[in-house]
């Protein structure tokens, strides 16, 4: 018996180093998870400030604060920072913290590569943000950087943008390889794939998506680089190329990318709702198959972002039908969450509030997505605020809420302290109201005819723009409360038990809170019933 070293003994012999170098050199999945989460929060605040510049300018008709050239830089950088700097690293941070614990593994499979994957990001984003101070300004061609605006007409900083994208891509690819190898090889003995928590499944599938499409993004920015600097004509009609080719290759990456940004959210919500409903996740098998279907379908629908580009009708019809089909597995997931809640015994702590808001508001975003799939109607929605409303619904009360839900849910495990529940609920309600006041009116102004990426607008759009801007400031400043809550929790609070939540299931709830620096150095014995 004594040959088995208990986890808490490890603390004394192999505790973390002290000081700054601990963070620079760490190969520990918990440390790296923490680094990713703090980095993503910082990027969220930076991207959020850019959003507030945008919404402040759009508060009233007329150009009050910024000139159009700078406005275009703000919209571009806001998109890039939020997509690549906030949402994606946050999910990677959650994967790092949780996947090894959930499968009973001591760490990620490739711990040193894990360290590199993180540390590339501050360099990449430092470079990207520095373009704001370069001559000609930051990238100003939208986060979707269509050619030839982003090639022949781009500011000099475009080259730095391309390098930054390459670096972020390398980080994502390395991180995803790590996730797949870990999940496939390091599960505790006896844990079959269909026994894994759904969060692990969604990350396994997300990692495959990343491995498949990030290289395509790398390819398209390399083609841009070649067109700009080496006289090629991939996207230049004059040289025999085609600007529309850019859009096809970009969206071949871009569509799976948006599923990359939502599948882990599905996993988070699938962990939280069963806990607070005190009832097993409904339809586990179905949830796995639905996630896999969504991932597969995500590869073959990309041109629904391009319906007005002049594709032949056969192409438009095919992409319309394929896109509509994605509604089916997505709907299945929503129904399964509702069925999990149904006849449960629910309590509504902060993680559950965020998770339920996710289900409702993500569904609204999904339904507007279904509307966008209908091609003749899309001709009236495309490139208007209707699209902006759609994707912000799925990304903000979608992905971002799921990240906040995850933070509240697992903070006690990470820190050993309960967060302040009253403050948490306050943060939730302020965010919930803020997010809806910001983005719901954008459906109206889009339908009424206001295009995207406009720094100024005709007078009939003024009222709803003002409302939207007020919501944005409410939502934005509420996130400072979140920052306060997180720091307060780290510094102290009511002691958390191992299990933390009544009804929580999963290996992470069998270790102490805070989780010891090294967990599952020896694989755990699994409980008799399966995780499903």
């Amino acid at each position: 018996m004594s040959a088995v070293i208990e986890n808490h003994h490890d603390d004394h012999h192999h505790g973390p180093d002290k000081g700054l170098m601990r963070w620079v050199l760490t190969t520990n999945h918990k440390d790296i998870g923490t680094l990713y989460l703090w980095f993503s929060f910082a990027m969220f605040l930076v991207g959020g400030c850019m959003a507030l510049v945008i919404r402040a300018e759009l508060f009233q008709p007329g150009l009050q604060l910024v000139v159009p050239e700078f406005f275009n830089q703000m919209t571009t950088m806001h998109g890039l920072i939020m997509v690549f700097g906030a949402v994606m690293p946050a999910f990677v941070g959650l994967a790092n913290w949780l996947v090894p614990m959930m499968i009973g593994a001591p760490d990620m499979a490739l711990p040193r590569m894990n360290n590199y994957s993180f540390w590339i990001l501050p360099f990449a984003f430092g470079m990207l943000l520095s373009t704001l101070f370069m001559e000609g300004g930051a990238p100003n061609f939208g986060w979707t950087f269509y050619a030839p605006l982003s090639t022949e007409y781009a500011p000099p900083s475009v080259t730095f943008f391309i390098f930054a994208v390459h670096l972020m891509g390398i980080s994502s690819i390395m991180g995803s390889i790590n996730v797949v190898v870990t999940i496939l090889n390091l599960r505790a003995p006896g844990m079959r794939l269909m026994d894994m928590p759904l969060f692990v499944w969604t990350w396994l599938i997300t990692a495959y998506l990343l491995i498949a499409v990030m290289p395509v993004l790398a390819g398209v920015v390399t083609m841009m680089l070649m067109d700009i600097h080496f006289g090629t004509a991939f996207f230049n009609a004059g040289g025999g190329g085609d600007p529309v080719l850019f859009q096809h290759v970009f969206w071949f990456f871009g569509h799976p990318e948006v599923y990359i940004m939502i599948l882990p959210a599905f996993g988070v919500v699938s962990a939280i709702i069963p806990t607070f409903a005190r009832k097993k996740l409904f339809g586990y098998d179905s949830m796995v198959y639905a996630t896999a279907s969504i991932a597969f379908l995500s590869f073959i629908v990309w041109a629904h972002h391009m319906f007005t580009v002049g594709m032949p009708i056969a192409g438009e019809l095919y992409f319309m039908y394929a896109t509509m089909l994605i509604a089916v597995p997505t709907g299945v997931k929503v129904f399964n969450w509702v069925a999990t809640m149904w006849q449960g015994s629910m309590t509504f702590e902060t993680p559950m509030l965020f998770a339920i808001a996710f289900v409702i508001l993500f569904t609204i975003g999904g339904l507007s997505g279904l509307m966008l799939a209908i091609v003749p109607a899309d001709f009236q929605y495309h490139d208007t605020y209707f699209v902006v409303a759609h994707f912000h619904y799925v990304l903000v009360p979608g992905s971002i809420f799921s990240i906040m839900a995850a933070a509240y849910y697992w903070l006690p495990k990470w820190t050993g302290n309960m967060y302040d529940e009253t403050l948490g609920k306050t943060h939730f309600w302020l965010s919930f109201v803020g997010v809806n006041v910001t983005f719901f009116p954008q459906h109206f102004i889009g339908l009424a005819g206001m295009p995207r990426r406009y720094p100024d607008y005709a007078l009939q759009f003024a009222d709803w723009n003002m409302v939207s801007s007020m919501g944005a400031f409410l939502f934005g400043f509420s996130q400072l409360l979140f920052l306060f809550i997180v720091i307060k929790c780290i510094r102290g609070g009511k002691q958390a038990t191992d299990e933390v939540w009544d009804g929580a299931e999963g290996l992470e709830w069998t270790v102490a809170s805070p989780a010891p620096y090294h967990t599952f150095s020896t694989p755990p014995a699994l409980p008799e019933r399966s995780m499903a």
């Binding site: 990030m214 290289p215 004059g238």
Partner: protein, 182 residues
């Protein structure tokens, strides 16, 4: 240890997928071109046409062909079709010209890029001789009438009664000089 070698195998497999997808991204370029050539889906007409079989001519069918001529961006040449529209019988050969004049102060090279609307008519528009097949170099002040010889395939769907062929002139003086253009 078998654990480590299993991990290594998985890692290597995934890295090769990464490289494969990077190559796939670049492969999309020729794939796209081939798809467009076969289906005419982006309105681009093909290269020089060689009639492979005798075409059935329906003398009563008339198709209107409109010609558009434009300069791209900073291209300063004067560029216009000698006729705006021609009524043609599919299957017969027709000739027309486009006038171009280099009004700039230096020698310039232009590339004419064709585009057909509706796109699905492009694969039925055959050019046996076209100034768009090569770059055109004109000295400062030089003028030229550039020939186009074409046949509309009689298999053009009956729903197409008007077809628009647009040429856009691009300045490829630098591309031609560096020899890097396609």
């Amino acid at each position: 240890m078998t654990d480590q070698s299993a991990q290594n195998k998985t890692t290597l497999k995934l890295i090769s997928v990464v490289f494969g997808m990077f190559v796939f991204g670049f492969a999309l370029v020729p794939l796209y071109d081939i798809y467009c050539q076969v289906t005419g889906a982006n309105g681009k007409t093909g290269g020089a046409y060689v009639a492979s079989e005798t075409l059935e001519i329906d003398e009563d069918r008339l198709v209107t062909v409109q010609f558009l001529a434009n300069n791209n961006a900073n291209m300063p040449w004067e560029f216009r079709p000698s006729v705006r529209t021609l009524k043609v019988v599919p299957g017969k050969i027709y000739d027309t010209t486009f006038y171009a004049s280099n009004i700039a102060r230096a020698t310039m090279t232009a590339q004419a890029i064709p585009s057909v609307a509706p796109f699905h008519a492009a694969e039925y528009f055959h050019k046996t001789e076209c100034f768009c097949f090569e770059k055109q170099q004109l000295a400062a002040g030089e003028q030229i009438d550039m020939p186009l010889r074409f046949i509309i395939d009689p298999h053009l769907p009956a729903t197409v009664q008007t077809l628009t062929l647009s040429y856009t002139l691009f300045d490829v003086t630098e591309l031609a000089a560096s020899g890097a253009a396609e």
